[in-house]
Symmetry: D2
């Protein structure tokens, strides 16, 4: 079994290998220039800050279906311990075990490979059990801060939540862009809202995961045309799941991460942001979404904040 | 053994219990208003972004002296796994076990208690083994974004790195403020640079931890007078270690976290920021330092970014 | 709410506090004397060894219902790593995160308390977040080796598996003892087979856990009368679940662990042993079920072996 | 760089590939027959039990030198939690993160490869990041119970502890066998005491690990000639470290695990056993050393017990 011809055709059109040199490990994040950030800062008008991460706790979004992607196990290792003797100041400390992709997270470019290759044509074998990702790890982008644009597809289509079978198409993105009243431009980070996370917030993890609306295999070309720096949404799978084309699993992952070199974000809670953008009548903002710098990580938990 | 009278005198002067109501769990972070953030955004002039987190890896700053505060153990749970059959798109996933206070981190207000009390007079017993911190957890501040000011004490005193025995005093902060050319104001997040982290960066974890320069027990009054929102520095212990006053361990922690309700940051790498601020001739910037929202966490890893 | 009078009546009859001195931490394991072990060794006639532990893997018996009791997350930290240079001998290493009570395990005496007391009247507060169990930890019994007796209740009653609602009574134990053809005596470790684990082995973790057959609140007196050293069975909950007496949850745990000071084993796979004992026509054997010596542990994974 | 000719010569002499069929995954453990175990049980004369595992705790033998081989981090996830409401029976639960080879452990046959091969000629690539060891995992030997023989080399040579540079030779084993007063035979598990663990027990982890006495590269032939089932000792490295032959690192591991298919045990505490054997004047016993059945594990913690 191998990837179909139609995949390779799209792949060729969106491919960015070599665009930022043969040694580049951060892909489309190169598009976030100082100027982009300066401009982004001008989006801050109200000073309102909206956090986009789900709580990190054992009752997270993972159901056990993806092996090893464990919800956070948060434990106390000290509680009010009077470290320096009775009557002294007391400390509480904690520890966690969790999958780096378990909650609200960024995929590193090394998260996915196809045909033995990572982004920029590097061998998939550079991801190893000991050191993790030697190439394209989440430690390579030193910062992820840019203008964020909310493309609220659900609202633009007059829905609370897209159906499980809804593939978000380029036409949907156009509609959401018009609804947003701003044009997506080079270096932007696009947040695509489907409303799917409402299932999880309502207590149903299984309904959240499957079936899920998500990005169509046709969207990478849209993002490529706009020179978007990164894309995140409010689903477990990012792309429509199960896929639009039978047996073409994770095609969007392969196109975004491997071909374009564009990081993806998943399980971002965009509900409060949707309300806030609706209220202030603007859908663009300064977005800070710093990766935790795990050396060799193929992903990372992230606590993004939109500053309006 | 109990805390000495001189501790209680200072404690009384900096105490903020009840200031934001009896149920407040975020303390001085209340000082970061929308207006403060709007103003902070105007500090972004060059668009330069400086990350302040140390790499998260097993060879981190912890030496094993603090029980349970383990350096990150980063492991791969899948490597180029063709989840949907041979020839399909392949995924790599990872997981981590780590102390929440192991690397670059924020202390939550619940991290420390004294005399059986947390910030706002709440019982220390609200931190429990199962749920962690029911009060004052790191999940309570929804965002930490404000104006950041670098008080580069080492540079202001013409030093690369302060000596192990150097207690950073209010007078040192005054000197660094003058060096910075800006006045610290309400809602600011102050980053105090001692240069101590250079030991760790040079490969000596033991020298980094002990003895360490750090904040004097006299500094909480300075921060209180300026209504600072939070303080972080580039040491393992935050305060001078061993302490200035014999047997008065962790007094600064108790004054900042318990009495004032002011979060502290530790192990922040301020080296690159020091250089950048020196070059642009400004020591204030927009700072985003979002906590990972661990439910009941008494601390959190953080990947702060200064946007100049 | 407090424990009913009928609980306290039974508790008084089976109580062993002080029996082995005020400082004793191992309870009925004291009944395993050198002589008991010498006798047990004479049970070895065929040399056949039957392992009783379930595989340790992420797809273990835990369903997520018990917070923090996580199935093993087994990860590789090195794979064929040529540690001393290319072409040298290569090593693979692994690590695990797991609940100590997640799989086939022993409960330490400190696992349960009631009315603020552990076994031997010690305060429940001796279990702390930092050191774990200072009293009655799983590190205290230095060895668990004795004669084992299989009481195959399911088979004795002509069943493959007892129903979910079946409370194993003293009369059931009598019947199984007769079926076994040996009399349980002081220092024995009794393995009670219900057949319930067949649900898990057949792939249904949820059916395995609830509802479950298990030991009746009347059985501690039977074990006490016989001076049994420990009891294990093939269920998740050990005792009948939900309980026979409304709202009297975990009464058997409290009677066995707190009052008698008798360790309990859970999730032991007794299927192969049942067959083997049936074939050789003997239900007693040498049993080695050594606890992993976790300092301060309130339980431990165990890999028991019956040697027939 | 590749392994020298002298390695390959020894390898050929001790090689057991194919001896128990092409699909065998347990190697010399096949030598433990029912008859061997029946005989072993007759060694139980006093009923004395001697545990051989080190405590599992954060202050274990690992120093951080071996990446990923982390000492146990034992944490409480519940403490006296009244799960079913106030006043009900209360539970304490714990969890652990640890390297499977961190403390007293068995190496699985899959723990080491050389020249791309595991025991029985299987490809090293059968150890994978997701499932661990598909071949030769620690889950494959269903039980490890046999006659144990203590070869107390230190005592036989009139020493408390062998020097760091002492390679235990076949001649040393002969001397210890004579001292033991029993002849090692097929299926035995041999415990070789160097006394090295006294360094760790005295508080010096670094001295324990390096330099270390240990088995000479000449010993595999001795073990092969006697058809020993397994060998364990009281060192971190098992073999002499640094090696006798320059740059021939881990040669004993490769000969034992890969060529012979003989499991190795490390960090076994043989101090109490040495004393006990001296006192009773016998050095053979029934040994139960059951592996925890981690699916795909390349090693396992073990809590061995010698029953004299």
């Amino acid at each position: 079994m191998s990837l179909p011809a139609e995949f390779h055709e799209v792949a060729e059109r969106v491919n960015n290998w070599g665009r930022w040199g043969p040694d580049d490990e951060i892909g489309t994040l190169n598009l976030i220039t100082d100027e982009v950030v300066r401009e982004a800062a001008t989006c801050v008008r109200s000073g309102l800050r909206v956090p986009l991460a789900l709580p990190l706790r054992q009752d997270g979004v993972q159901t056990g279906v993806i092996p090893g992607r464990v919800n956070p196990l948060h434990v106390m290792v000290q509680i009010n311990q009077e470290v320096f003797g009775p009557g002294t100041v007391a400390c509480s400390d904690d520890a966690v075990t969790m999958g780096l992709q378990a909650g609200t997270h960024w995929d590193a470019l090394s998260h996915v490979s196809h045909s033995g290759r990572l982004y920029n044509g590097r061998p998939a074998g550079t991801v190893t059990p000991h050191g993790g990702a030697a190439f394209g790890g989440i430690d390579k982008p030193r910062h992820i801060v840019s203008r964020g644009v909310l493309l609220d597809v659900a609202r633009a289509l007059g829905r609370e939540r897209l159906d499980g079978g809804h593939a978000v198409t380029p036409e949907d993105l156009d509609a959401a862009e018009e609804f947003a009243g701003t044009r997506v431009r080079a270096g932007d980070i696009v947040l695509v809202r489907t409303g799917q996370i409402r299932s999880y917030l309502a207590g149903d993890r299984h309904a959240y995961g499957y079936p899920s609306p998500g990005l169509s295999v046709r969207t990478p070309e849209w993002f490529h045309a706009r020179d978007v720096a990164a894309v995140a949404n409010d689903t477990l799978t990012f792309e429509i799941f199960p896929p639009e084309i039978e047996d073409l699993w994770l095609a969007v992952h392969a196109l975004d991460l491997v071909e374009m070199g564009m990081p993806q974000g998943q399980n971002w809670n965009l509900e409060e942001l949707s309300t806030a953008c609706g209220e202030v009548g603007r859908h663009s903002f300064l977005l800070s979404a710093m990766p935790e710098p795990f050396t060799g990580g193929t992903g990372t938990p992230v606590a993004p904040v939109a500053i309006l």
